[in-house]
Symmetry: C2
Amino acid sequence: MPSAPAVESFAEFRQRRVERIEKVLDELLPPADILPGRLHEAMRYSTLGGGKRVRPLLVYAGGQCLGLADELLDRAAAALEMIHAYSLVHDDLPAMDNDDMRRGRPTCHKAFDEATAILVGDALLTHAFQVLAEPVPGLAPAQQLAMALDLARAAGSRGMVGGQAIDLAAVGHELAQPALEQMHLQKTGMLIRCALQLPLQAAAIAPDASVASALLRYADRIGLAFQVQDDILDEIGDIRETGKARQGADRSRQKPSFVSLLGLTEAQRYAQRLLEDALDALSPWGAEGDHLRALARLIVERNR
Amino acid sequence: MPSAPAVESFAEFRQRRVERIEKVLDELLPPADILPGRLHEAMRYSTLGGGKRVRPLLVYAGGQCLGLADELLDRAAAALEMIHAYSLVHDDLPAMDNDDMRRGRPTCHKAFDEATAILVGDALLTHAFQVLAEPVPGLAPAQQLAMALDLARAAGSRGMVGGQAIDLAAVGHELAQPALEQMHLQKTGMLIRCALQLPLQAAAIAPDASVASALLRYADRIGLAFQVQDDILDEIGDIRETGKARQGADRSRQKPSFVSLLGLTEAQRYAQRLLEDALDALSPWGAEGDHLRALARLIVERNR
């Protein structure tokens, strides 16, 4: 049954869809009582442990702009969140960012061990594609295959993983703004873009090119805004709010950031400008675009 | 154009298909001159650096039993080899098996660095699904999606990654034969089984259930035989032949093995019995099954 965005406030939308994706993830992840139990327990620990669920919310809100029922989008939202969760587990490893805490809890390799954390990431990444490849009522195989392709491109060496590689190589270097934006486009932007690509693939009739390009323009602006805001929060955020172990952690590791490049005030102005661009891209939509609008504001105005 | 197994000796088949898969992998992997260059270079180092290409050979030879052209199987063979290559890169990491050498060359994290090796594995795993999801002339989206599903199940937490987790947990413990076989079924067997599942999915008309079950029985026997032979080689193999840094490495780390469980002579007899079972499963085929037969013998009679 199609959702009715007009009668649902953003607070209701957010609470219901976060609950929904938690339930979907819980059902799609292997239970901890199936062998190997410790691996499955660690996969669940790393995926079900909270988080803002920004990407699934974008999937569902994008679906509302296209008149799609939540049921068609559950696996897309879950697959995207599994990719995000795996990337955090691997990024936190000692050989990468070496973080002990995440969302106020020990990171996977601290709560379990390093070998398990490597395997958890591998298993979540693989499971994301399994979830997209299993038959879904209402979606044609060609649609599901197109979703898998979008996800693979967004997550691979020319997407998220490549962005992480560029980021690691950039530690200790100054990056100019275009290089910094390319790095973030790959590292976080392409997965956020994918959150809008997946509902576009789920539409029974392919949306007009103008509809697709408007939603993807929205996605690209908030993807970048997300990262600018991350850099701002890393500079000024309260440790209790961000759940990160160190304030100014990026600066102390000499990671290139929008704040170090533009200064704090200019970075804040830039985030606002990106927000306005994102909202502008949604001008073809009335009330059915309201939740995407609210998500854009949430991303830029969040404090953690 | 369909291949003609009757006129091609196994030596010719093997040489041509190894060359073929090297070329296919070279074309499907991102070039090292595309950013991030070091990541792409390391992906190529880890995938194109030799190896026996057993899984791709099984894909092509299985295809011959089904009358399939090599062109229909190239991406399946490449995806499977990318999964195999990624698993070696991650297994070699210090937190896992901590191996410095592989195929007589430094392992990925030694030739590059640990963070790069983690990302190389992630990128190869993701790329395997990208390669299966890109449009292929002659295959329907439903067939490609079924291939992606088979691969995800074979490679995930209830397949290869789970087998690796069970293996790590078993170090220092004695395993009974059923537990040891379950571990190996997941760790290596399911990917070898997948090498026969993929050509079954590529057939334009779904093969008879008896054809499918015969090929999968063959796959299961050689998958297990492969591991028994690995354990035998670890015990008796010459270091120069296996390319491994230490002879008896599994024993010295108290890894459970068929040799420690059954003794060397019994393990060798067991490998022979599995070989005979595998050949028996191929009895429905004449000359078009000869390359699968030769591959089964190669696996059991190899010395590295």
